[in-house]
Amino acid sequence: MIIARRAILAALTAATIAGPAALAHAQSGYPTREVRWVIPWNAGGSNDIMARVLLPILEKEGLRVVIENVPGGTGAIGMGQVATARTDGYTIGNGTSSTLAIIAQGKVPLKNEQFDHIIRVSVDPLILVVSGKSGFKTLDEFLAHMKANPGKVTIATPGSNNINHIFAAMTARGAGVDYRHVPYPGGSRVVAELMGGQVQAGVLKPSETMEQIKSGDLRPLGVFENKRLDALGDVPTFKEKGIDVFPYGPVVQMAYIAAPAGLDPKVRDTLTTKFKAALTSAEFKDFAAKNGFIIDPLSGKELDAEVSKVADALAEVAKHVFAKP
């Protein structure tokens, strides 16, 4: 008992004396404990799965993370928690283009300045797909059909006011006609409705459709990029067909790590290095290749520039595309 008490006393004294030093040490020794990683989407979504694949790889790099799903409000709820968290580097979150879009449109009380952007995790190209049973074999055929039936062709997207929605609108713009935009709560619903012939086309990620494309249930018609995708080499881009899908600036579907603004540069560096190592690991590359997304780990000033470029383009595009119903 006495020994124990003495030990505690000694420890306390030591802590008081070494207090400031210990604090300094803690900072240089970041991370000393687990980092809370807020995924502002449902468990089981693509962001969540990616984080769970990264979790053990990050641990090998010496960064232990705990994944916390805080879904809702197109990611705004979780990112709101990140924005107001302590700037000690123990809270990070997944920023995405979708959340950027609703911030850019002023739909949520959040600002991009509230975040430090750490590193980009993934870039998802988007493609226009139709059912494998549909009569449209090429993009030209589909666009011709849109022209022949102005305002009648349905294009489905997961969610609305996001990048998918923009590209649906850009497809119609390419055909020079109006269309019917059908938003669904998630990519898998769009796949189901496409396969069942409920809607005529959809704007989705290759990662959501690869297996259905391989089995012939879905058919990709065009890529919303300026160059063809490695995974879908025979699918033409919209650019090849003379359609500019980026008339308001570059918009890209991406996910990146964000922390509350005002992070210690050292902590930021640590996070960047460890994430970069995990993102470029063979395991994660393998996962990315299998699921058809691109790893492009931009960080630092380049990422800041990219995020604001995308945010500006989104704000601009919102004025033209997301017209009131």
Binding site: G44, N69, I77, P183, G196, M210, Q212, S215
Partner: protein, 510 residues
């Protein structure tokens, strides 16, 4: 024959692997715990387990996650019966009759029924999964937003059977419920509705906080205000399982509910709670004892639980055959498959047939494990009824608060839960049932978004609901469910059949 041999091989392989069997049992136990604890969901269970399964080979890993999913559905009935808290949204309907049975001292019997029906539901949907899954999944794809909207409306008709003779109060509650579900970002246009520019309201009012608030708080308050100390009859642990003849009386109900559950599970948009709502409604209409539903009729528990567990097998069908998850749990399972290097999609049967069959075999074994875990586990859980009320009520209150918070780590959810709880208590004082509100909250978003989606697709033409054969048929059933009973009663005059409704009203307003 092909199916039998594949399945046989998979089963033999599973049975010859004690390690795998232990993992399935473990998965079911954890699933029970997650299902039985308000605030822990099956989705969280699977999410938490994914890192633990990294070192395992894919078949064992996925098997354990599937076992957890099955276990959680069966576990949800425990708190629903014992303390009127549905452990999962799908168990809401189980509280309707399960909890009144517990109040009559028949908690063990209620759970016996729940367990048997859970397993029966699980097995019937398993049969569909093992035999005709690919065909079923393709048929389900023919349904679109118009049919989903009609199904949501059909689900709404249950309100008429839950609050017999109080149509106006029922409708009022449903409207309040749908109204609550409107808060947040519009599902179609993304516009903020009733959010007052605050982050918390942008998220909207989630189903579980509303559910815990509306069902648990009034129940707690009422139990505290009850004068008679011996309101609860002593719990008889003997006779947990009904006799064979009793069960035969519910056989049709079980099969019908399981089939409804399986069908709803296959459809990618609907989810478990819709299945049990529709199954309960149909059971009540077809049961000669229908008037007793809601006051502790075993048939209500049977319908709800058979449908619930039918949904699990049903939901696996589009997941395994098309790579399309129907709800958040199956989405999480899809993630689990992907993390273990499998590519869920229409080719999964071809590329990883052995693993698919291992999963199917696991589901069969999980249902057997559910029986064992349920019988043993319930003996512990039922002790909760021995706790004196003045201790149980505060403990449950804490559980409601902690459970609500842990759902999404949001304090605002707790505020919503408490506000709706208080509101619900005031309503019960005025003899207004809270269930229509609950149903409005659950079905409102589905009904609204699918109706609007169907209208976008049809270009604003409402006739789409009648010209599409599927939705026309479902709407016809819904209208029949509402109008036929009254019509039949009128035709029979004021005979014995017509007596049910006024009688029920009299009891309600006591």
């Amino acid at each position: 024959m092909d199916i039998l041999s594949s399945l046989g091989t998979a089963l033999l392989f599973e049975l010859s692997n004690p390690y795998g069997l232990a993992l399935i049992l473990f998965g079911v136990v954890v699933g029970f715990a997650f299902g039985a604890t308000p605030g822990l969901t099956a989705t969280m269970g699977v999410a938490l387990f994914i890192p633990l399964t990294f070192p395992l080979p894919p078949d064992l890993a996925v098997g354990m996650m599937v076992a957890l999913y099955c276990g959680s559905m069966a576990g949800g009935a425990i708190p629903a019966i014992l303390i009127n808290i549905p452990g999962t949204p799908s168990a809401v309907v189980t509280t309707l009759d399960g909890h009144p049975m517990a109040r009559q001292g028949k908690a063990a019997r209620a759970y016996g029924w729940a367990l048997i029906s859970s397993i029966a539901g699980g097995l019937i949907s398993w049969l569909a999964l093992a035999t005709i899954a690919p065909a079923l999944a393709r048929v389900a794809l023919m349904l679109g937003p118009a049919e989903y909207a009609a199904t949501a409306l059909l689900g709404m008709t249950i309100i008429a059977s839950i609050v017999p003779g109080q149509v106006l109060k029922g409708l009022l509650g449903a409207i309040i419920g749908v109204g609550l579900s409107v808060v947040g970002l519009d599902q179609i246009t993304g516009e903020a509705r009733w959010t007052f520019e605050t982050l918390a309201l942008i998220r909207g009012i989630d189903i579980m906080p509303a559910l815990i608030g509306l069902l648990v708080i009034p129940e707690l308050m009422n139990s505290l205000f009850e004068r008679r100390a011996s309101a609860r009859a002593p719990t008889d642990l003997k006779g947990m399982f009904p006799s064979l003849s009793e069960w035969m009386g519910q056989a049709v109900n079980t099969v019908r509910s399981a089939v409804i559950g399986t069908a709803i599970g296959i459809v990618p948009a609907l989810g478990g709670s819709v299945g049990s709502l529709i199954a309960y409604d149909q059971a009540k209409r077809f049961d000669r004892d229908g008037a007793r539903y809601g006051k502790g009729a075993p048939g209500g528990v049977v319908a709800s639980e058979a449908a619930n567990n039918g949904v699990t097998g049903g939901a696996m069908i589009p997941l395994l055959t098309l790579g399309i998850p129907g709800d958040t749990v199956t989405a999480m399972l899809l993630g689990g498959l992907m993390i273990h290097g499998l590519q869920p999609g229409p080719r999964l049967f071809e590329t990883s047939g052995d693993i698919v069959w291992a999963i199917i075999a696991t589901m069969l074994l999980a249902n057997i494990a559910i029986a064992a875990v349920g019988v043993v586990g319930f003996r512990f859980f039922v002790r909760i009824l021995d706790v004196p009320r003045h201790l149980l009520a505060p403990a449950l209150f804490v559980l409601a608060v902690v459970g609500t918070y842990s759902l999404a780590n949001q304090w605002f959810d707790v505020v919503v839960m408490l506000c709706l709880g208080t509101f619900g208590f005031l309503l019960t004082l005025a003899n207004i049932s809270v269930y229509p509100i609950v149903i409005g909250v659950i079905l409102g978003p589905l009904l609204e978004s699918e109706v609007r989606r169907a209208l976008v697709i049809s270009g604003g033409d409402w006739s789409t609901f009648l010209t599409r054969p599927g939705s026309a048929a479902i709407l016809a059933v819904a209208v029949a469910a509402l109008v036929l009973p009254t019509l039949l009663a009128r035709l029979k005059g004021n005979g014995a059949a017509g007596g049910g409704t006024p009688h029920a009203t009299a009891e309600q307003s006591k």
